[in-house]
Amino acid sequence: MTEKLLDIFLGEAQELIVEIEKAVLLLEQNQQDEHGISAIFRAMHTLKGSSGMFGFEAVSGITHHLESIYQDIRDGARAMDANVLAITLKTLDHLRNLMQDPHLGDAGVRANHEQLLTAILSLEDAHTSHHTANNTAPASANTAQQRSYYIYILPHPAILRNGTNILYLVDDLLALGEGTALPFFHQIPELAAIAPDTSYMGFEVVLATTKKEEDIQEVFMFVESDCDITIKSLADGNILSAIGKHEQIQNRDVAAALGYEGIKALAAHPKKKISKADKARSAGINNAASIRVSSERLDDLMNLVSELVTTQARLSLFSGENDSTELSNISENIEKITRRLRDNAFTMSLVPLESIVVRFQRLVSDLSKELHKDIEFTAVGMDTKIDKSIIEKLTDPLLHILRNSIDHGIENPEERKRRNKSPKGKLQLRSYYSGGNVIIEIADDGAGIDLTKVKEKAIAKGLIDGHAALSEKELTDLIFLPGFSTASVITGVSGRGVGMDVVRRNVSDIRGEIDIATRAGEGTTFIIKLPLTLSILDGLLVKIGDTDFILPLTSVAKCYEVKTAALESSFNQLIQLDEKRLPFFFLRNDFAITDHKPELSQVILVSYDGQQVGLVFDRIEGEYQAVLKPLGEFYQRQNEFSGATILGNGNVALVLDPNKLIGKLIDHYKNQQRYEYAG
């Protein structure tokens, strides 16, 4: 080793130390400066490498451990804090000494070295992610224990009246790990109208924790019925640093929640976050923040992604059959990337609901004039995005519901005064994400649906039996029957009895569901639940005999293994599971599949109309991302199959729509019984 090279190394090391020092000082101003963190990480990495080469083992050892901490910070697995910065500065001073005394000859330097090393190691250990000695280990290895969750808490307005302190909930949540709570206000009235015992606010919490989802749920144990709560996993590891200083978080509109997708999008694009340092830099290029792409090219992209997903499925099948560690590593990696690419590509084809709101505003103002009603229309959460093909098919049903609410729901001003309501009726269109779904609600504060009137009408029209005992839900559902209308005067606007059945059909055509919540005198809310996209579905691959089926994962509640014989011998189609007696369908019989009957069958519980129903399959193969392909015109009547998908082995699997299937099977058995009684 020549003196010359050593000189170069020492010079370079000095420069690196200065560089790190500069970055650390900047970081003290703004702990989230991503550039600073990466700069430190890079400089340390270089320093570690070259000092190792020149035999400066003490230097490379200590920088290695410090570097690991920065790597975690950079990867979002831990947050930057003052402790880390303080110890970095101390280490830098120590490194300067080490350059003169690389082999720890001086007792003072040695003591200092030991002390710093323990301090760094304890910092490293304090963090859940225990970094392995190999600094090239993938980030996923050390972040597996920690997960980031998105938690949406919207307490019901009355929650304060039973003495619940919402802030305690948030505190309890944050005690589970590291997190940030983002409050938002929900329908806050004018100051004079604010009732002190009413809650108008909600929270979105991003929580990084090693705890399980159940533990998070436990926090809400006592308030479950008083809050709308959504808990969703955001990502592996700690993404707080990625979203903490995000511009959109800081300048967000507190009137509405950001939503799971919103937060997730922020976390996915940490590059967008603007630190003080690069605010100025980006100011000039802000205009290029978005580009226009023709929808045709997007469709092309989507098709390619779909093909990639199918091909990837083939690859993982192939790698499963061929016992090669390397191949399975590659295949797993491609699976991860494909999944991300898919999610990314699909969010690109999503359009905010805003694009159709103008039409609604126009309708409301025209109609309220025509019908002499005073209506205040508000739209909340219109930045919620949804597949453009869904939006196209959504406009008509939404228009119809709005028309209904204005025409039948909201009373005229005189009537409202008589009922002690403000003469101005309120109509709200709101939308938000809930899991993999988008919820759209249309709420009015009108008269509500008069269920006794509904019942009378249904009896008069012969839609139901006069003696039928119907639950409230069943009664409200009557409005969706063809040929039903309760308006006492038929207007030109609505009330011809065509409509709600069409609305329901339109919504179910796009794999959505519609529900009504109504209270006499207080108003009606229509709730539409929609999938984010129509072309890809996360499913469970199951088998009966040789035939593959896909069940949408969203509808699967639980799976049980049960002896086939026990199912076959059941005469009342009920099975005892977890101390509940549940109806089930032995699909082997219903589908007339007779080959390879197994000894054990799988009962998969899905929810149907508010209760759980078991569907019996032979085998569960695992999760599967299905690219939906239409079955075509020949299978129009088999709408219990929403499509088909090509599996990795080239076979075709049928995608089940559990709701339609169960509905059809129930009808089928009812008819059968009728015949039996008649015979």
Binding site: T547, D590, E633, Y635, Q638, G643, V652
Partner: protein, 163 residues
């Protein structure tokens, strides 16, 4: 009658049971060996199921059942004709299982005879004409109608109503 049938006089003949039929080649996209067919439960009996045609889902019709012929199991000669037919202004692609494909032949318009209104078990609108070849009649099918209609053959007895 479709425009293709007027311009093209090439026909592909195929066999079902011991009867010969022919389809205008303009309608035939390709001929496949029979792959694994996924049966769609609760569908009509003449629907054999769906197959994977290079990443797309192709519905396959059991032509024998559709034509009211007795069912048999597939042989080495059985194959799927991939057809493009017009239905309500759209072109749809489907597969039709036939017992064997014979040959492609040129048929002169003048050789096509009218279908006798009596004596065939098929509704006359499904047959564009007949050709006599080596003492056997070949029925020229109107594919658009055959595969978009529910009932192709005349039920002599009212039995066999299946759902």
């Amino acid at each position: 009658m479709s425009t293709q049938a007027e311009t093209l006089n090439s026909f592909l003949s195929f066999r079902l049971d011991d009867e010969l039929f022919a389809a205008n080649v303009g309608k035939v996209l390709e001929i496949l060996e029979i792959p694994k067919i996924t049966k769609v439960p609760r569908s009509p009996e003449y629907m054999r199921g769906v197959v994977n045609l290079r990443g797309n889902v192709l519905p396959v019709i059991d032509t024998r059942t559709k034509f009211g012929l007795p069912p048999t199991s597939d042989t080495v000669n059985s194959c799927i004709l991939v057809l493009s037919i017009a239905s309500a202004g759209k072109n749809i692609t489907l597969g039709a299982v036939v017992d064997a494909v014979q040959e492609v032949m040129e048929i002169d318009n003048s050789a096509i005879q009218a279908v006798p209104s009596m004596g065939t078990r098929y509704k006359s609108e499904f047959i564009d004409g007949m050709v006599k070849l080596n003492d056997q009649f070949i029925m020229l099918l109107n594919l658009d109608l055959v595969f978009t209609s529910e009932e192709v053959f005349v039920l002599e007895e009212a039995a066999g109503s299946k759902n």
